[in-house]
Structure formats: structure tokens, C-alpha cells
Amino acid sequence: MQTSNEVNPHSHQHHHNGHTHEHQQDYPKEPQRPTREQLAHINGWGADLDHKNRPAVPMERKPPRFIPPPVDRLPQQPENVEVLVSTERPGITPIFGTAQPPSGLSGMMRRVAFRWAENDLRHWLLLLAADRVNVVEGVAEDLAKGKVPNVLGEMGIKAEWQHNKAGLVKKAFIAGAVVGTLAYLMRDRERR
């Protein structure tokens, strides 16, 4: 494929032969712009050249378009599950998500995380740690239901086999080598 990785016509390479450089002033003072005629083949070129055609310019605009008129107070959604609320808010929002309420050890960690503001790094780091604990809880939950998770299937091994057989074989070889090396080292250690 022809790309613009090779630069012409104004390609400029430094030739550090002694102290000789090309001269910056030999290059155009202003960027070179194509004419409208040169751009005429581009489908739709300039349709929104006029800023009036750009729907998000200016960025803030009142009154709002395309939605019903704003109201003073929205109906409050009832709280039927535990929802963690940012300390940077005065209270819960009128509308909120109720999926996957906090539970288990990861839920305890998330509750602690929400004692800190979003501005505090500890808030996010603890949430990331809770996410990893939650993964283990997910496997345990599957096993408790009598379901052995098909981890390779969940990672898309079928697609990998279909579209990247060589990559899959390489990954399997590397994984085998790592596991084999670890097993050998552990056996060696036990012998000592």
C-alpha cells in the first residue's frame, strides 16, 4: 500500500557533514493550501465549512434544542438496591443505575473506596483492586452453581483458531514453555 511514510517534495534530512545544515528559510513561510478546485473531488467537501452548519458550535447553547423543555424537578427514582454515591455530590441523583449492586468482599472494598472523593487516588486504586477480587468471586459463583467456566471460550479461542491459527499455536507453545519451566524449577527446589 502506498502510504505517506516517505515524505516528498519538501523532504528535508539533516546532513551533518561538518557544520553544514540546510537553511530553514529555504522552506515556505506559510503552510501550502490546496485550492477549492483541487479539493472538488472530495465527497461533501466544505458542506459544513460555515460554522453555522456545525451543530455543536458554540459548545454551550441556550435554550436547548431537540429535547422537551427542561423541568424544575424530576421524579425521584425509588432506591430498591444499594447504590454507592460519590462524596462529591450532595446526595443520590434522580435517576441512577441499579445493575450489579455491591456484594461480597469486592462490595466491601467498593464501600470503603466510596468514602474517598473521586479526587483522591485511593478511591480509584481500591476500585481497581475490588474489580480483580470480583473476578475471583465470579469464578467461585459459577462453581457454586455447578458451572465450570469455559475460560478459553470466554476469551474467544474459537475465533482465534478460525482466524489466527499460527498465533494460537505460538501462544500455546509459550504458555507450555512457561508452565514447564516453572514445574521443572519447583521440582528442582523440592529435590534440594
Binding site: 431537540f66 473476578v135 474459537k158
Partner: protein, 394 residues
């Protein structure tokens, strides 16, 4: 119902979950007809977004049919086919009153820095998303947009995020006639940012990526120049060579925290999670733009911090603009572009995959297998309807 189910980094599956219910008078329940996997879903899939809980259903790009409405819904009725903007917004808060629909203050209890987003972790509100057969759609009078009869359902699903985000990325670049615009990332958003740059009168559009088949596609689809960053010595130096040593007038980051191209950034941002993702592209965007130029950011980064050359931005007098797209304000104009043939979103769809095979769909998209650009998931119930309609027509 059948729904995508997150089990941990790089692990998802299709599972049966309880159907969603009306929880607020403004809610609707939508039966999903098509949902996409977005590049930003991959940040969740890779375990980079804090508070992504096991059991969560992703999906913020979906269209469907209204099957139930709450007592307060007046503008939608059962049977309407709607496209649902990826942002949840109330229409009444300080920010919605200013058309900042991507920054609503009333739909995400768990964070103030981000508005509510369907299926995008609890950091974005804890709403299950549209990679499912059914989805709860709050504030149904405000967000959803009834799909006009002449707009194809696959064009509509791309109007929920990828097209308006790409368009707004170009818009935030404040492109003037003849400007040189560099778009980093040849994924769906980058492709539409490149197309939109031409609509706004750019003189040159250059797209940068490392994936050859994507560069080939965008070069043809968006009639632009392309650069493979793996084949150049230094990205900023190369852009300057291409622009008479001035730098681009506008640079656009359509990649975010999953960027490749810098060992140090990849190590600290993606692997060790010491930053909120790898800020390689933002670094390039700042250093490749000319003095006094504009940098537009729509690539997604996490909530903590990133190492970027902010001193260079100061010394060069740059304007940095960034936001989540306010999807709804763009829809009328973007539909005009589709009707006029200036935009043809559905042409970027490369894979139509049953929802049951969601694990393979994520892997194909994440690993860029089979020349994937945009995968669309089709729930079993949507396939049944299509089959019934087809047999009725025979």
C-alpha cells in the same frame, strides 16, 4: 433474556439474565435490534476502567423497538423504532440546559466527572447496556430518537456514537478552510473524524495508525493520506516533514488509553496501570500540531492521571478541546448528510455476529482479526423478527 456478561479482563460470554423492568416513570424498555461493539468497550474488556463489575452487560451503541413505557413517558409509544444516544441525560440539569448532553449531572450517582453511559461500568452510572435482547432506557422522552423510515437501521446504530463522536472531534478542532488535519487512529471514530474534517473544509487529512488493513480502508473510504507510525522514525518529526516543517493545524486523538507506539507509555499506562491508560497519542497530538494550533481529544482515558507534555502545549499556545459527544444535538445534521450521500456509515460494518457468539466477537475486534473494523451484534429475538418479515414478504 440473553445478554453479554462480563466475567473479567478478556473474558465475556452470553448468558441468560432477568429482563429489565421500569424503575422510574420516565423509563422505557427497548427490545434491541442491533448493537455494536465500540472501541471504547475494549477499555472495559481490557480491565482498564475502575468499577467494572462481574456480571455487567456492556453496550452503548444500540437501536431497538420500544416494548414498554413508564407512566411519565409522553413522546414515545410502544412499537416506535428508536436509536438511543450512548449518553444518558435528563434534559433538565444545568448542563443539559446548555446542550451539553454528554455531561448530564442527574444520571450518574457514582461519579461527577462523567455522565451516565449505557453499559460502561459503575464509574459511568451502573446501567446495563444494549448488548442484550432488552435494555432499560431512562428519560425516554429525552434521549431516544425515532428512526426515520428512510434511514437504514445499520446507519442508525452508528449514529448512536461512532459517527457523532467522529464528527464532534472534527468540530472541536475548529477546522478552517484549507487546514491540515491529522487524525490519530483508523478505527470507526477516526474514520468518521476524517470524513467530517473534509465536510468542514480541510485542505489535507492525514490518518495515522499501525494496522495496515485499517489504513487501506480509511484511505479509500475517507479519501485521505495515511501514515503507518511503525514505519516512521518519530511521529512529530514526520508530521512536520509532511507539513513544510510547520506542524498540522489540527490534530485529533481518536485512540485514548489503549494506544500503542511507545514502550514506556504501554508499560506504565496499559500493563502496570500506573497511568489512566497509555497517553502516547495525546503526546503525539500535542507535539505534532503547529504553534497556535488546535488539539481535539475524543479518545477515552481513565479517571486518574496521564503523563502528557503539557509544557509544550503551553509554550506552543495550543487550544485543547475535548468532550464526550453530545449525540442528540448532532443527529438532524448527520441525517441530512446521510440523505445527501455525504456520509454512508453502514459501509464500515465488517462483521454481523449473533449475540450468542459475543466472546468471539470481542476477541476478533480486540485482536483485529479477519480485517475487522466494526462488529455488530444481532440478538436472537431480532433475528426471529427479520425471518418472520422475510417470510411474510415471500
Amino acid at each position: 433474556m440473553l445478554a453479554m456478561n462480563y466475567r473479567g479482563p478478556y473474558r465475556v460470554r452470553a448468558d441468560h439474565k432477568p429482563d429489565p423492568v421500569i424503575e422510574h416513570p420516565g423509563d422505557a424498555i427497548v427490545r434491541v435490534l442491533r448493537s455494536c461493539i465500540c472501541g471504547s468497550d475494549l477499555h472495559l474488556y481490557h480491565g482498564m476502567v475502575p468499577d467494572t463489575r462481574v456480571g455487567h452487560t456492556f453496550g452503548h451503541e444500540f437501536v431497538g423497538e420500544v416494548v414498554d413505557i413508564g407512566s411519565g413517558v409522553q413522546n414515545l409509544k410502544v412499537g416506535d423504532r428508536v436509536l438511543v444516544p450512548f449518553n444518558l441525560f435528563c434534559g433538565s440539569c444545568f448542563f443539559c440546559e446548555r446542550e451539553l448532553y454528554g455531561n448530564c449531572h442527574n444520571t450518574n450517582a457514582q461519579a461527577t466527572a462523567v455522565g451516565g453511559i449505557y453499559g460502561y461500568s459503575h464509574t459511568a452510572g451502573g446501567y446495563d447496556g444494549g448488548q442484550a435482547e432488552y435494555v432499560r432506557v431512562p428519560m425516554a422522552d429525552v434521549g431516544p430518537y425515532v428512526i426515520p423510515d428512510d434511514i437504514h437501521i445499520e446507519d442508525a446504530v452508528l449514529l448512536t456514537d461512532a459517527v457523532p463522536t467522529g464528527y464532534q472531534a472534527a468540530e472541536m478542532g475548529d477546522i478552517a478552510e484549507g487546514d491540515t488535519v491529522v487524525v490519530f487512529g483508523a478505527g470507526p471514530v477516526g474514520i468518521f473524524a476524517a470524513k467530517s474534517a473534509w465536510l468542514m473544509g480541510a485542505g489535507r487529512v492525514i490518518v495515522v495508525d499501525e494496522v495496515e488493513y485499517r489504513l487501506e480502508f480509511v484511505k479509500r473510504f475517507a479519501q485521505c493520506e495515511v501514515v503507518n507510525f511503525r514505519e516512521v522514525n518519530d511521529m512529530a518529526e514526520h508530521i512536520k516533514k509532511m507539513t513544510d516543517w510547520m506542524g498540522a493545524d489540527v490534530t485529533i486523538d481518536c485512540v485514548g488509553g489503549d494506544a500503542a507506539g511507545s514502550i514506556a507509555q504501554t508499560l506504565t499506562g496499559r500493563l502496570m496501570k500506573m497511568q489512566a491508560g497509555a497517553s502516547t497519542v495525546l503526546h503525539w497530538a500535542i507535539n505534532s500540531v503547529r504553534k497556535g494550533g488546535n488539539v481535539s481529544i475524543v479518545g477515552v482515558y481513565g479517571p486518574t492521571f496521564n503523563a502528557v507534555p503539557i509544557g509544550n502545549a503551553l509554550n506552543k499556545g495550543l487550544t485543547l478541546r475535548m468532550n464526550q459527544a453530545s449525540v442528540k444535538r448532532h443527529l438532524p445534521r448527520l441525517i441530512e448528510h446521510i440523505r445527501a450521500g455525504r456520509l454512508n456509515p453502514k459501509e464500515i460494518i465488517t462483521h454481523r455476529i449473533p449475540l450468542e457468539e459475543v466472546a468471539d466477537a470481542y476477541h476478533i475486534f480486540s485482536s483485529k482479526l479477519d480485517e475487522c473494523i466494526k462488529p455488530v451484534l444481532i440478538p436472537p429475538s431480532a433475528r426471529e423478527v427479520t425471518a418472520v418479515k422475510a417470510s411474510a414478504q415471500q
